[in-house]
Symmetry: C2
Subunit: 105 residues, 2 copies
DNA sequence: CAGGTAGTTCGATGATCGTCGTATCATATG
DNA sequence: CATATGATACGACGATCATCGAACTACCTG
């Protein structure tokens, strides 16, 4: 079988897959949690200590392409912000439940 | 770097990764959605038409090992049930938000 | 301009994933 | 017992992933 059947792929599904995949990595989830905890934007480099710069760049790209974070350059460093409102609007309760499993406990 | 730093891996994190990874696949999410929609347990074979039996078995194992579904043999076929209560208790709101992104719309 | 700091890009590598077909097992029924 | 049905086990294949180091770019500062 080649999965050729005509089931509505549902456009939202694409993004949801990306979001869930992005959040399925502990390293990235940790970044998101730190991002959610600190009100002020922080430079990328201050997250996920213990992994290489390239890996960190990779993780931030996955998060960005999933629509979870926003980034902008600021002087010598690049700032990151969790797009909480956007994500909450699109997938209500998702971030809360993913992050809350530790925080709310 | 070899990620040797001492950050609490958080036992819950392991399972959460498995759950999110399980839900990040559209095929599996579809199974879960169907499972959530039908009150009565149904045989595995009645889900996810268009994919091969082995693939379906694989998906059900991923869902089972993530703690999302429960299975038991009943005569010639194997029944499946969404462990809604258990999942809701462990990750409140997660299933609702993942499934709701389509259902609630 | 020289030097340093912060990120990105570019392979590469080993692991995991989704999918398949085939062979096999278990159970029910003729 | 023979057969059909529903599901699993077993590789296998190509794709994607997380991770790395090294080379490169952008920017600030002295």
């Amino acid at each position: 079988m080649i999965a050729e059947h005509p089931d509505a792929p549902d456009p939202d599904d694409v993004d949801l897959s990306a979001v869930l995949h992005a959040l399925s990595d502990p390293q990235r989830r940790r970044i998101v949690a730190e991002l959610a905890a600190s009100a002020e934007p922080r430079p990328c480099g201050s997250f996920a200590p213990g992994i290489s710069k390239s890996t960190r760049t990779h993780h931030f790209r996955v998060l960005r392409e999933a629509g979870l974070v926003e980034q902008w350059k600021e002087g010598t460093s690049k700032m990151s912000r969790l797009r909480r409102d956007d994500v909450d609007a699109r997938y209500p309760g998702l971030l809360d439940s993913v992050l809350g499993s530790k925080a709310v406990a």
